[in-house]
């Protein structure tokens, strides 16, 4: 077997095992999916009701009915493939010494975590296909569809958001090297993220100053800018600006995560092993 084939086989095996592992607790998987489905269902119900009770052609917050419904679908899509992560417990794995298993083996820890994350996203995405089909049947929505070029850029930005979220997860994971108190900051961040990534409502309904503060952070790049791109709200200049900003955030947080992990591994005490 060539070296490339061996590497592929190694990571393929990791991916399939992580996927299998994620499906062991069927009830947990089912409940998690029901929760995501209900969140989308409730949002769609509320906004459908708001638009149904408004005058025909009304555009609350500058969103037409089809734009808002599309926004909800997009947010749900981004939640499933970007924000949902298998690495929420990484800091705990570091603190409890669970990562020792990977550190002892001839496999890259980053590669291992990427496969774990990918398996989780595949699991979510495959469930999401059926959930979206059900939502389409229930609401029969009219959606906004952009040009092929925009769809391509949307896909690129979504991949960028996945990488950005991975870097953020690595940074939170580092906490485990120095403290067992890893859940509180993660939870606080998650709450802020729901808001700043536009998961609760579109950020452009907020005052300009608040929007500016949000854009000074990487959070809108995890979901919101992608939705705005898809809905045709960004011109060429904005697309270029956001592309560069997303790239810079990835580089900055990626390098920072790499630096802190290197430092953290020197302080790692492989607890419990």
């Amino acid at each position: 077997m060539t070296m490339r084939a061996q590497t592929f086989s190694k990571y393929w095996r990791l991916l399939t095992m992580s996927w299998q592992d994620g499906l062991v607790y069927r009830m947990s998987v089912l409940m998690w999916r029901v929760r995501r489905f209900l969140a989308a269902l409730m949002s769609l119900t509320i906004w459908s009701t708001i638009y149904a009770s408004s005058q025909t052609g009304a555009t609350p917050f500058g969103y037409t009915q089809s734009a808002m419904i599309s926004y909800i679908f997009l947010v749900s899509l981004m939640q499933n493939i970007v924000m949902a992560t298998a690495l929420n417990g990484l800091a705990q794995d570091v603190y409890t010494g669970q990562i020792s298993n990977q550190l002892l083996k001839p496999v890259s820890l980053t590669g291992y975590l990427v496969m774990q994350e990918l398996a989780d996203k595949l699991k979510n995405t495959s469930a999401m296909v059926f959930e979206f089909a059900a939502l389409f049947l229930i609401f029969k929505p009219e959606l906004v569809f952009p040009t092929v070029g925009i769809v391509f850029l949307f896909a690129v930005w979504t991949v960028g958001a996945i990488i950005l979220n991975f870097c953020i997860s690595l940074l939170f994971g580092c906490l485990g090297f120095w403290s067992p108190e890893t859940w509180a900051p993660r939870f606080l961040f998650y709450t802020l993220l729901q808001f700043a990534a536009g998961q609760l409502f579109p950020l452009d309904v907020l005052p300009t100053l608040v929007q500016k503060i949000m854009y000074a952070t990487p959070l809108p790049y995890l979901s919101f800018v992608q939705t705005q791109l898809f809905l045709g709200k960004l011109d060429g200049a904005a697309q270029l600006r956001h592309s560069l900003t997303l790239l810079v955030w990835i580089l900055v947080l990626g390098l920072l995560a790499q630096f802190i992990w290197k430092k953290g591994l020197k302080d790692y005490d492989a607890a419990g092993r």
């Binding site: 190694k10 592992d21 298993n101 492989a270």
Partner: protein
Amino acid sequence: MTDTPLISVKNLSKHFKVYKKQPGLWGSIKSLWHREYETVKAVDGISFDIHEGEIVGFIGMNGAGKTTTLKMLSGLLYPTTGTPSVLGYNPWERKAAFQKQFALVMGQKNQLWWDLPAIETFHLNKAIYEIPDEQFEKTLNKLVKLLDVEDIIQIQVRKLSLGQRMKCELIAALLHNPKVLFLDEPTIGLDVVMQKTLRDFIKAYNKEFGATIILTSHYMDDVKELCERAIIIDHGKKIFDGKLQDIIDKYARNKILSLVFSKSVTKKDLAAFGTVKEFSEDGTHYTATLLVARKEAATTASKVLSKLPVVDVTIEEPPIEAIIREVFSKEKAKK
């Protein structure tokens, strides 16, 4: 065995900063704004060399620094001072070429995927260690038969007993035929039969592959049966390194005389020859155990034989556990 050591450790130390919490609720509240830390020297400047094919027993009390040393030799921990060399590599660099040649087995933790059958981890390790198909099949079949686990490798790991899990752990660790094996309490929590099975297996593995093994264990039987050489660690420092027999020669002050009599004798009669450790008589059986000065054991035995109605006598070394206790108590007295 070559002259170049396979494992070489010089002045190796690992210090940890630990938080000292004051007791009680007030201590917890105070710790919100002020915490006291202290530096614990888990390993404190130890040095040793181990040659190819050796099985070395690491002996020490809880917290002596045995596991920390193994973690440094495996590349998990970054040493505070010193650079160990294992198979010519600096373990901390965690090079794939090094990692493919060693394994660390921990009795209290597992590398097996908890929710999946052990066979899945075996296949994962095959891919990770890039084990050729033929070697994998051959080694797996052999290990599975040797440890008698054919029926359980398809069952979820969390459903297995501790003994079954340890056997599967060993298989997962040995599939890539490591040249160096670090075994940390591999028999902990196992029943005596299972302990013996694992010991026999480790011995056979060492013979067949010429593997170099470092073993830590609380069960002296493990050390006695497997290791010719022992390294004793106390409070992070090495206090003995040599043959197990040398520990006995150096630290055992007494020998044990086990006596069987044909008729009743008194404790007073026995006390004239040494310290009476056990004494029992039930009207038909009369036995006693005497502790006698090591150098005079043979002379004393002959005196007892001539003066008392002895029908059987054996002279034994004290149990290794007792000798180790002696070593630690002497070290403690020195401090």
